[in-house]
C-alpha cells in the first residue's frame, strides 16, 4: 500500500517536474486547429475525387452505350465486361477506402456501425456522381480537353463495340460513320441480333462484332437512344 502511494507521488512529481523544466511543452490551439483543418481538407478532397471519378465512369458508360450490351446476349455481357474501365474502377475503390480511413477520424463515423457508414457513403458518392454525369459537366470538359490526360480515348470504340451514325443502307447491311469520322461497312448475317424496327439513315447504332478491313460482321445491333458524340 505504502509502495503504491509512493509510486503515485513519484508519478505526479516526475510529470510536474518535466513540465516545470520545460522538457514537455503544450501544443497550441492553432496546432490543433490546423491539424483538424488539414484532416477535413484531406477528407473533402478525397470525397470530391471519389464523386468526380464515379461521375466520369458514368459518363464513359453512357457515352459508350455500355448499358445496351446486355441486350445482345452472352456476347454482349462479355463485351460489357471487357469494355468496363477497370483501371478507373480500381482507382475509385482505392480512393473510397482512403475516404473510409479518413472518415474514422470523425466521431459521427466511428460511433456508428461500419455497415451504416459504408452504405451511407456508397449511396452518397454514387447518387451525387451519377447526378453530375447527367449534367453537361463532362461533355463540356470533353470538348475542351479531348486530348487531355483524363478524356483522351474516353469516348472511343473499344474491342468489338462500334458506335456510329448510319450513313447508307445497302443490300447486305449498312454503313456507319463512327466518332472519329471513320466509315465502316456493317455486314448483317442471318444470326445477327437485329433491333425491333427497320434501320434508317441518320440513326445512331451500337454494333457488336469483329472488324476486318473496314467490314464489321455484326453479331448484334441496337439503337443508341441519345444522339451523342457522333459526327
Amino acid at each position: 500500500m505504502k509502495e503504491t502511494k509512493k509510486q503515485l507521488n513519484n508519478l505526479k512529481e516526475t510529470v510536474l517536474k518535466a513540465i516545470e523544466e520545460d522538457k514537455v511543452s503544450m501544443h497550441s490551439k492553432l496546432y490543433f486547429l490546423s491539424r483538424s483543418a488539414l484532416w477535413a481538407l484531406g477528407f473533402l478532397l478525397t470525397l470530391t475525387l471519389t464523386i468526380y471519378l464515379i461521375s466520369f465512369i458514368t459518363f464513359i458508360f453512357r457515352g459508350n452505350s455500355l448499358h445496351l450490351l446486355p441486350q445482345l446476349g452472352p456476347g454482349g455481357w462479355f463485351n460489357l465486361f471487357v469494355s468496363l474501365p477497370w483501371v478507373l474502377l480500381l482507382i475509385v475503390f482505392s480512393v473510397f477506402v482512403l475516404l473510409q480511413v479518413l472518415s474514422t477520424h470523425f466521431s459521427f463515423v466511428y460511433k456508428r456501425p461500419l455497415v451504416h457508414t459504408l452504405l451511407a457513403s456508397i449511396f452518397l458518392v454514387v447518387i451525387v456522381g451519377v447526378a453530375i454525369a447527367q449534367t453537361s459537366f463532362h461533355e463540356r470538359a470533353y470538348e475542351r480537353h479531348k486530348e487531355g490526360f483524363m478524356y483522351k480515348g474516353a469516348l472511343k470504340d473499344k474491342g468489338e463495340i462500334h458506335i456510329g451514325r448510319v450513313t447508307q443502307i445497302n443490300g447486305a447491311g449498312f454503313n456507319i460513320r463512327n466518332r472519329e469520322g471513320e466509315t465502316y461497312i456493317v455486314s448483317v448475317t442471318p444470326t445477327t441480333k437485329m433491333p425491333p424496327f427497320k434501320i434508317s439513315t441518320s440513326t445512331i447504332m451500337i454494333v457488336m462484332g469483329a472488324e476486318d478491313n473496314g467490314v464489321i460482321t455484326a453479331v448484334g445491333i441496337r439503337p443508341v437512344q441519345k444522339q451523342r458524340r457522333v459526327k
Binding site: 508519478l11 505526479k12 516526475t14 511543452s25 496546432y31 460511433k111
Partner: protein, 178 residues
C-alpha cells in the same frame, strides 16, 4: 470543482491545475494500466506517458465535454501502443464486430453490471483474454464506465461495445472453466 474547470484553467496557462488533474486521475489510470497491461513491465512508464500526452494535447480538449473519457482515450491509445511495440499480442485493425448494429437496451447494461461474480472471474483470467475483449471488460467492470463512455474511449460503436462485452464474458467463462 469539476475536472473540466481545471482543464480550462490549464488551457489558460495555470500549470497548478494540471497537478489537481494528475492527483484525481493517477490512481484510476494506474489501476487501468495494471489491469489492461497485466503482463507488461512498462506499465509505470506508460502511465507517465499518458499524463505527459494529456498535458501536451490539453488545448485539443473541448471543455464542454467530459474530461474523463478524453484522458481515458489517451490512456487506451498509449496502452495499445505499448502492446503493439512488444508484438506479443495481436491487435486487429478491422473486426467484424464493428460491422453490424444491434440496438442495446439500458436494461442489459444494468443486468450485466449487477453480475458481481463476473468481476472475480475476470480478475483471474484477464491475462488470457484477447485485447479487444480485455479493453471493454476492464473499462466496464473495473473502471465502471458505461457503454457510451467505452464507445468514446475505445472509438467503436456502442452496439459493438455490447457485442464485445457479451463475447468477452463468454470467453472468460470458458477460460475459467478449463
Amino acid at each position: 470543482m469539476e475536472d473540466e474547470h481545471f482543464a480550462k484553467l490549464l488551457q489558460q496557462g495555470d500549470k497548478n491545475a494540471f497537478g489537481t488533474l494528475v492527483e484525481r486521475y493517477e490512481k484510476k489510470i494506474t489501476r487501468y494500466a495494471n489491469k489492461f497491461l497485466y503482463n507488461y513491465q512498462d506499465r509505470e512508464d506508460a502511465v507517465q506517458d499518458v499524463f505527459i500526452k494529456a498535458y501536451k494535447n490539453i488545448q485539443s480538449f473541448n471543455t464542454k465535454e467530459k474530461f474523463s473519457p478524453w484522458i481515458y482515450r489517451i490512456a487506451h491509445n498509449t496502452f495499445l501502443n505499448v502492446i503493439r511495440k512488444q508484438k506479443t499480442e495481436k491487435i486487429t485493425l478491422f473486426d467484424t464486430d464493428k460491422l453490424f448494429a444491434k440496438q442495446l437496451s439500458d436494461e442489459s447494461e444494468t443486468r450485466l453490471r449487477e453480475q458481481s461474480e463476473d468481476r472475480e472471474v475476470l480478475e483471474q483470467c484477464i491475462s488470457q483474454l484477447d485485447v479487444k475483449y480485455r479493453e471493454v471488460l476492464v473499462l466496464f467492470y473495473f473502471e465502471e464506465k458505461d457503454y457510451e463512455e467505452i464507445s468514446d474511449i475505445v472509438g467503436i460503436p456502442k452496439s459493438t461495445v455490447g457485442v464485445r462485452l457479451r463475447r468477452g464474458r463468454e470467453r472468460m467463462k470458458q477460460i475459467y472453466e478449463i
